[in-house]
Subunit: 250 residues, 2 copies
DNA sequence: GGACCTCCTTGACCCAGATCAAGCGCGAAC
DNA sequence: GTTCGCGCTTGATCTGGGTCAAGGAGGTCC
């Protein structure tokens, strides 16, 4: 797992065969606009655990996650940390018009990013409305997700927090694999217990205990530490404190 | 305080003299675009405590807060509530392209909004890049604020949470009154203890106790329940767990 | 004046989750 | 094989903030 993933380095240079072309910032672009983008783009790969950029660093690119998962993290002076975003394939990194990174960006799994040089990207934003329109849409979605997460952080119990996180990962995983949310869901957790704790505002011990409790109660099944099976998704949603009505896909 | 505020109903119909014209969605619009906006806009006033719109309701307008404060709130089935946004003058309400409201919007103080009919506003968004550009900028700012708040909710102690909220209100109040953040700041809290608790993920008892503690320790002074004096802003920032370096204005 | 709000404060007690600590499982390095 | 070390689990104990309960301050209405 720690040796370099060769496949992820020799990535497609061609937007036409890009796996995220339907959901990324460039999703609305016309062929000529894509061509323009190809001229300012380049790929970067990171191994799990590597830091993509530190908060406060000068940032001369923006980009999309092509494969793998990255996390946005904030850290207080005394070391307390809070994850404030989970970046999945097609998610956008960086902010046009801003010089420096506002958060630490860390590769949670092996990661491939499609980066655009910031200056020309900003210029294109002004010229081609398609880019800005799509970015607005994506930013509004992220804002909704952040607000959803504020409810989790502010008002949910530890058990509900874990169930919320699992249901989000399960739902997204199902949507990546192009299948609806069925009753039976199987996936691998892409996060360590510590990363889960940082996302949920808990300690890793509490995460571990609640995972054990959900397993004991039959809400989830665990093989090893990471392989999760969810026998009844609406049960999980119930545990998360959400309405159990919707297995609605995003 | 509960009787209708007549002044706030007879509001300006003229964008030229609008108090938020430099910061609202329309800030980038050209004179002809403003004229077009004037054609689809109307004002609405609300008394403190009134609900502007309920989550899930059909929403056929978007708009800006002109004066007063509104809050975005999420509620769980069992009644637990979390405030997920504090809307100040110039802040935008609603999401173009979405049919229904995602959150409860409540007037925290007496409130005046400048509303645009949604359909024609969406059309204008497509036609005039200035609107979409400004909205993107504002949405990115809100996303940053939401992420900042995730750190507060997930990792800060009750005392730090209160200090964080007070510093945010103090800073914004200073910026509204067009004065920098000085050492001595005075303002009226626009929130009840309960609203503060809903924002901070605490109970109102804890809010009250921590306010008393901060007063006892000389971090703040209180006259009545709402009138706050901050004798040393950097001290407050310290209590909030933030770097005490910056009295930087936004 | 008194009655009755609403908003807030304070005290006593309790519990969910943090903290501190020990140890397990498993893959990598030697 | 043995020895690391990392990620994780589990137990014992502590504590910050929740819960329950009583009452105060100040405003409005009669």
């Amino acid at each position: 797992m720690n040796k370099l993933n060769v496949e992820s380095i020799h990535v497609s240079q061609d937007c036409g065969s890009c796996p995220i072309k339907h959901r990324a910032v460039c999703a609305r672009c016309q062929p000529d606009e894509l061509e323009q983008l190809e001229g300012i783009k380049y790929y970067r790969s990171f191994e799990a655990g590597q830091t993509v950029i530190w908060s406060g660093d000068r940032m001369d690119f923006v980009g999309s996650v092509v494969s793998g998962i990255a996390s946005l993290t904030q850290t207080m002076e005394d070391g307390r940390t809070q994850m404030v975003g989970l970046l999945l394939p097609s998610d956008f990194v960086g902010r046009p018009g801003r010089m420096t990174a506002a958060y630490d960006v860390v590769a949670t799994t092996d990661l491939v990013m499609c980066c655009f040089r910031k200056k020309p990207f900003e210029q294109m934003m002004e010229d081609t409305p398609h880019l800005a329109q799509r970015l607005l849409e994506m930013t509004l979605d992220e804002l909704d997700a952040a607000r959803e997460w504020m409810l989790v952080l502010g008002r949910k119990t530890a058990r509900e927090k874990i169930a919320s996180l699992l249901s989000i990962i399960a739902r997204r995983d199902a949507s990546l694999n192009l299948q609806g949310v069925q009753d039976l869901l199987v996936f691998d957790l892409p996060l360590t217990r510590e990363a889960m704790a940082d996302y949920l505002g808990l300690t890793l011990e509490t995460v571990s205990r609640q995972m054990s409790a959900l397993k004991r109660d039959g809400v989830i099944k665990l093989e090893g530490k990471r392989h999760v099976t969810i026998p009844d998704f609406s049960r999980l949603l119930n545990e998360a404190g959400d309405d159990a009505d919707g297995g609605v896909m995003v």
